[in-house]
């Protein structure tokens, strides 16, 4: 049910991607997809469906066994070299002995990028202006995640990859951070890819939700979310939204119950 034509170009293109670990573990099989510039896409699927593997391949942290991945026309490694990709991990990737400001600056020290806006401006925009000289252990989980995302965005990457960045947070903080993030990405017209376990979060934030099935990971279905951005908080209780959540949840159950052709 993959509706994308992989030959039209875009921010992220994946063609016939397969990934195996050794000879016994097939993590991904024949994944094809196309993500447009400025689009926000969420990946959802049962545990072990290869979501994180897919994100790691996009981030250049794993190599595909076969198939091709392009980010803005480059290989993931080249895109990273050109500072076109930012990655926010599930656990904040912060150096304990550096303040929030120094942690964000670390990205610039490595990439040598000279973005138009300063680290301080970015942190102000992220709502942590008052805490920029705090160390990670002095910040709440939500604040740490903001710094984590600031670290991934400071060098102005066109594509932001998010691996369950709100997974460890309480529901309210998670919702607030999600709203804040999508507003930020849409305002700056960045392409976002989010790995999540939350159906609500996926539907609320994304332009499209990609449901993956497990064993091996394949695209089960792509669900378009035709609710215009920016979305208000009240949309969560509207019928359109609830119907889409139910639809994605149904697909997720189907993907979970779907048996692998191998098994």
């Amino acid at each position: 049910m993959v509706s994308n034509d992989p030959n039209t170009g875009g921010a992220v293109s994946v063609f016939n991607l397969c990934k195996s670990f050794g000879t016994s573990v097939e993590a991904l099989r024949d994944v094809n997809l196309q993500i447009k510039e400025g689009e926000f896409t969420a990946f959802i699927g049962p545990s072990g469906c290869g979501k994180t593997t897919l994100l790691r391949i996009l981030a250049g942290l794993e190599t595909a066994s076969s198939g091709e991945v392009q980010i803005l026309g480059n290989t993931p490694e080249a895109a990273c070299r050109k500072s076109q990709v930012g990655v926010a991990f599930q656990r904040p990737a912060l150096v304990e002995s550096r303040t929030a400001r120094e942690n964000v600056r670390l990205t610039l020290e490595i990439t040598k990028a000279r973005p138009n806006r300063s680290v301080e401006e970015l942190l102000e925009k992220f709502g942590i202006g008052q805490f920029m000289d705090s160390y990670p252990h002095e910040l709440s989980g939500g604040m740490q995640q903001r710094v984590n995302i600031a670290c991934a965005l400071v060098h102005d990457p066109k594509v932001l990859l998010l691996d369950e960045p709100f997974g460890a947070l309480d529901e309210l903080t998670r919702e607030k951070l999600g709203e804040w993030l999508i507003h930020l990405l849409k305002e700056e017209k960045r392409t976002g890819i989010l790995i999540t376990h939350s159906v609500d979060e996926a539907v609320y934030l994304s332009d499209r939700v990609i449901v993956l099935s497990a064993g091996p990971g394949r695209i089960h279905r792509i669900v378009d979310i035709p609710i215009p951005q920016p979305r208000s908080r009240s949309i969560r209780s509207e019928e359109t939204f609830l119907k889409l959540v139910a639809e994605v949840r149904r697909d997720l159950y189907a993907a979970t119950e779907q048996e692998s052709p191998n098994t």
């Binding site: 981030a59 250049g60 942290l61 490694e77 990273c80 070299r81 500072s83 990709v85 930012g86 990655v87 991990f89 599930q90 656990r91 904040p92 990737a93 912060l94 150096v95 304990e96 002995s97 550096r98 303040t99 670390l106 990205t107 020290e109 490595i110 990439t111 160390y135 252990h137 002095e138 670290c151 060098h155």
Partner: protein, 247 residues
């Protein structure tokens, strides 16, 4: 500094302990000297004691510096050359577990009363905890941070300098707390085997001459040195990790 005050109290209470021991035992002054006798000797022989102390300090500090050079070279090499670690680690375990008495005797017999065997003994006494901790610290770096560096296309040196080293530093400093004081003990043991100067030599001399007062004086000086070494490391530790204890 609260900690410093506690150590000062320990040193001030030592004469009291000696006094009490004398009160409850009937040992003569030639075996258990009164505190004032030890204090008198410390004052009268201050110039000679200072010379021997500086000699021991020189061996300890030089040996410790060498141990750190060995440790840093090995730990960094182990990080990037796994085979080297597999090859060298059994050797470090063997060397670590050879009784120092045997090793010191062999070195002294081979090289005589020169600085080299003493430095080697200090290195052997101190390098193992340093290497074990630094190696562990460098490898304990949060893999998420390493991933972050990789997505930024960081060089090996950048990953080491910006991420691995800061992560390993607490481990390395914890090893210094143990190893730095051991360097002083190592230097004294080396001098005790074969030397014409240093606190180790004084111990041998005092034993053969049945000079318990001098033995106690040297013990007092050696303890002072070790405590100062420990406090120095603690101060550096507090300075380095001030960010941890900030309110």
């Amino acid at each position: 500094m609260k900690e410093g005050f506690t150590y000062l109290l320990v040193f001030l209470s030592l004469p009291v302990v000696l006094f009490l021991l004398r009160a409850v035992s009937d040992l003569p002054a030639s075996i258990l000297p009164p505190p004032e006798m030890v204090a008198e000797l410390l004052w009268e022989e201050r110039s000679s004691l200072l010379g021997h102390t500086l000699e021991t300090l020189k061996i300890a500090l030089l040996g410790y510096a060498l141990a750190n050079v060995v440790t840093l070279s090995l730990a960094i090499s182990f990080l990037y050359f796994k085979r080297l670690e597999n090859f060298v680690t059994p050797w470090t375990v063997v060397v670590k577990n050879i009784p120092y008495v045997t090793l010191a005797s062999i070195l002294i017999v081979t090289m005589g009363d020169t600085i080299t065997p003493k430095l080697i003994i200090v290195v052997l006494v101190t390098f193992f905890p340093l290497l074990a901790n630094l190696n562990k610290g460098l490898k304990a770096t949060d893999p998420v941070l390493i991933d972050r560096m990789r997505t930024l296309n960081a060089s090996r040196w950048q990953v080491f300098r910006k991420v691995r080293w800061p992560s390993a530093l607490p481990y390395y400093m914890a090893a210094h707390e143990i190893a730095f004081t051991s360097s002083i003990v190592g230097a004294i043991v080396a001098e005790w085997f074969f030397s014409s100067k240093g606190l180790g030599f004084l111990i041998v001399q005092a034993t053969t001459e049945y000079r318990a007062d001098r033995l106690y004086a040297v013990t007092f000086i050696a303890s002072m040195l070790s405590v100062f070494a420990y406090i120095a490391i603690r101060l550096i530790d507090q300075k380095l990790f001030k960010w941890k204890h900030r309110n």
